[in-house]
Subunit: 133 residues, 4 copies
């Protein structure tokens, strides 16, 4: 519920058994879950619920790219650092990073484009929302 394109939002994700795989580190697709939890914290679950249930509109991931630099292990608490910017009327660009405790650089970094879909899954302009102010 905090943050803007000028500051960085922090969300903490604990690495649980469910997140790791037999190689000993977090399974590569699971960082996308951490990043989405951070976005839901930023946009607000009440806002998302209301948009979905009352207006039939929802956000959808349109594009993403991820770089993996280090692996997080069971028990670590990751600092998910997110910034974002609205780009035109139709998309928001998020930059996410997953930081291990006391690390000098992010373990995983991601850029992601979010769009908004209406009741018939058609592209609609991003609504006016508090977190975009």
């Amino acid at each position: 519920m905090t943050g803007s394109d000028k500051e960085v939002h922090h969300f903490y994700a604990q690495v649980y058994y469910e997140d790791t795989d037999h190689s000993g580190v977090v399974y590569h697709a699971n960082y996308l879950k951490y990043f989405e939890r951070a976005r839901e914290d930023i946009i607000g679950v009440n806002t998302l619920s209301k948009m979905w249930h009352e207006d039939g509109i929802g956000f959808a991931v349109y594009k993403l790219n991820v770089g993996y630099h280090d692996g997080a292990v069971f028990g670590e608490k990751l600092d998910i650092r997110t910034s974002w910017v609205k780009d035109g009327d139709y998309r928001i660009i998020f930059t996410h990073e997953a930081w291990k405790p006391a690390a000098a650089k992010p373990a995983v970094s991601c850029t992601l484009e979010l769009v908004c879909l209406g009741p018939n899954k058609q592209l609609i302009p991003i609504p006016t929302l508090t977190f975009l102010n």
Copy 2:
């Protein structure tokens, strides 16, 4: 689409990276995914899709119990053996077992009760379906 309460249905589940955790074996909750895939194979995805999209009804898990005897590892192809029986008008009881290759007994066994919910999430009688013949 095959099987009845007199025979055993076989469904094969490959253990992928995504299924394991850092202890080296399949994460305990993921066997429930294998068992559901087997049930969807038994009931038929077309039947399930049609029930859901045309009639607004769906199956729901009501109860389950699981016993864990051995751990499956990456790369194993598990034989999911399932039998089932209709119990009264409102529930179907499934017995699932996950067998590792060349094993003498199941690695994981499960008994599960499935019920049917109508459009308002109310309990309804199990419809007449081919796999129950």
Copy 3:
């Protein structure tokens, strides 16, 4: 890190997109993830990490049974209420409940037996741990 067999431990699990399925509620297997997160909070991730990396021992789920009474939806914050008791030298019995906000009874309830496995996956006595005091 708190709790004993005399009191109830509270752990809060936010329902994210990743947790739900197309029927609109939390996928049945995912409650087991919430319950495990609660157990990891109770036992302590540092304790679990140390046991695993230094002593090569870990906890394993031996048995569980679950009853599903209501479905949690996106955006809800579930109160996972857990109590536990050591049963003999070799197992701990956990009772977990998932409570929706302002509910009169649990949405999902679970009883689960945890055992301890040594370096060769053999059953070993439960070690002396703070949360069992």
Copy 4:
């Protein structure tokens, strides 16, 4: 076990309940699981198991980018089309597409770089493997 950089490998992924979210389509991170299953089919699980357990080496995802064009729904059988090419001594580039039945273009497309890590998580040259011939 088939395919080369000249041809396209086909792997079929059934969309199960577990794969979808409450918006009605496959959760965005889960396509990465389908793509990894395809790669494991291409490289061979026996090869991957042997590399891991005997030599202590494994593949790791280094980079990926994904474009989402359409959403897959419960019950669909997706055709995961993959091609790949070795790029220098240290990486393999995979191109994955997820095709819905009877579609004119892919629902999801992905380019992914795989590297190889040795026992101490150091970067090592890609070993000589059949699927790279």
